[in-house]
């Protein structure tokens, strides 16, 4: 049997994280080939709809990476991405998507090694989790339901 190879869709911001990915390649850092990169102009433009669409189209995980807070080329686009990420995490959890499958990271242009680390780490994590199957009939842990029972 062949090993499960996760498909990870990565939305990388044009000004920081995409450059970091480029730098990681130029520096010949070892990277897992499981990432499909989509270059976007800012992490702030990654609508939650894109993330859901990625999952609905067969991605096993989604990575959104942007500039560190304060460094955004558009002043506060990454802050918007940060604000959204919490509610999006909650929605995804409710729909049965494990927390590890969606990740928001700050990776500056000079942080090529960090990009490689994030990608490798994420790939291994998702490999352990297994493929994402929407509505597979698996019993997801629903954050809200368990919360309410406890409270």
């Amino acid at each position: 049997m062949t090993q499960f190879e996760p498909k990870i869709v990565a939305f990388l911001c044009n000004w920081c994280s995409y450059v970091a990915a480029d730098a990681a390649g130029v520096a010949r850092l070892v990277q897992k080939p499981n990432v499909r990169v989509i270059r976007v102009f800012c992490s702030g433009m990654v609508d939650p709809g894109y993330v859901l669409k990625a999952f609905a189209s067969g991605a096993d995980a989604v990575l959104v990476a942007g500039c560190h807070p304060g460094d955004c080329h558009y002043i506060s686009g990454n802050i918007k991405a940060m604000r959204r990420s919490f509610l999006l995490h909650k929605l995804l959890t409710d729909l049965g998507v494990e927390k590890e499958r969606f990740r928001l990271e700050w990776i500056a242009a000079s942080e090529g090694p960090r990009y490689a680390t994030v990608v490798n780490e994420m790939t291994e994590q998702i490999r352990k989790l297994g493929p994402f199957r929407p509505a597979s009939g698996s019993k997801p842990e629903r954050s809200e339901l368990t919360c309410r029972k406890e409270g």
């Binding site: 993330v51 859901l52 604000r83 919490f86 509610l87 809200e144």
Partner: protein
């Protein structure tokens, strides 16, 4: 012209759709002028035997979601019998409230079944609830919970009167997409698959003023008496108007009740939940991760809120999970 043969059926639901059809008031007289109602179990207690002669039904209005085996058989049978099948109401069109059970997937082997001594026998529940389009091809949709009379009336005129209506200049045509209102006026069938509702979002017809997009604190419905005339979302209520198809005329928002999304997602929206997450949290009044996280923590049951009526058919991740889809019966 002979009268059109019309069937109206309710699967799993609350029968508010049937009552909404009865609520056509003065138009009911005009309606029976063109239509012969041959099958309406809710109103007349008709049995399935009525459908056993081989004459076709011209238009069937199917209400309710597909939650039991009986519902599925009814859908297949009515699809086979009817020339035009209309999904009437949020349950039939999108799965409706019963569709929320899909959030907790059931194991078919664990489902309760009737034993011989259970009386009345339990319906054979399906492990997943779906809307009508999850089972058979559907020709037209009338959304809403329940559908509003103007839209139902427009649908009747378009599909049943066949251009013979004396009152074609319908009071509802103005709010319908151009293609449908033109068809109603001309007495021809609207484009296949049309939805009898608007195209834009509820915000387009909501009477409230939208001022500053900033979400500073979440309020549950009972915690706040909203200011008159100001956008409910900006006041901290979860109003789904911006992700929801218009056509209702903003009835709920006009009286201070946030939109719950019973018309399904608007034409341009990919996924109602994602749209709502984006709309609410992009404007969180928080610059630090900690603050934003605290604000998000106040929200409960996002999936049940954002896909309240549409989980079974329109949620990007969970839709289309019906056990089977029988296209063959329609011969398409």
């Amino acid at each position: 012209m002979p009268k059109r043969r019309v069937a109206i059926y309710s699967a799993t639901g609350c029968s508010a759709c049937d009552n909404s059809i009865l609520g056509l008031h003065y138009q009911v007289g005009a309606f029976t002028g063109w239509a012969e109602i041959v099958f309406w179990p809710y109103l007349r207690g008709d049995s399935w035997q009525v459908l056993e002669d081989d004459r076709q039904i011209d238009v069937c209005f199917f209400c309710g979601s597909i939650a039991t085996e009986e519902d599925r058989h009814a859908a297949l049978r009515l699809r086979a019998a009817a020339r035009v099948l209309v999904a009437c109401g949020a349950c039939a069109a999108f799965g409706g409230l019963p569709g929320l059970v899909n959030l907790i997937p059931a194991d078919p082997t664990e489902m309760s079944t009737s034993s011989q001594d259970t009386w009345p026998p339990l319906p054979r529940a399906k492990s997943r609830v779906s809307g009508l389009p999850g089972i058979v091809p559907v020709d037209y949709f009338v959304p809403g919970c329940p559908p509003t009379q103007p839209l139902l009336w427009a649908c009747f005129q378009a599909l049943v009167s066949g251009g013979e209506s004396q009152i074609r200049a319908s009071f509802s045509a103005a709010r319908l997409p151009e293609a449908i209102s033109t068809a109603v006026a001309a007495g021809v069938l609207p484009p296949h698959g049309s939805t009898f509702a608007g195209e834009k979002a509820v915000c387009a017809s909501c009477c409230r003023a939208k001022e500053e997009k900033k979400f500073s604190r979440l309020y549950r419905g009972h915690e706040l008496d909203p200011d008159a005339g100001r956008c409910l979302l900006e006041q901290g209520l979860i109003c789904q108007g911006l992700a929801t198809r218009e056509g209702c005329g903003g009835l709920c928002t006009a009286v201070g009740v946030p939109c719950r999304g019973c018309f399904g997602k608007a034409e341009a929206v990919y996924d109602a939940g994602a749209k709502m997450v984006s709309a609410i949290s992009s404007t969180f009044d928080a610059a630090e991760a900690g603050q934003a996280s605290e604000m998000a923590a106040r929200f409960v049951d996002l999936a049940g809120t954002f896909y309240r009526y549409t989980l079974a058919e329109q949620c990007a991740l969970l839709a289309g999970a019906s056990e089977e889809r029988n296209d063959a019966i329609h011969g398409s």
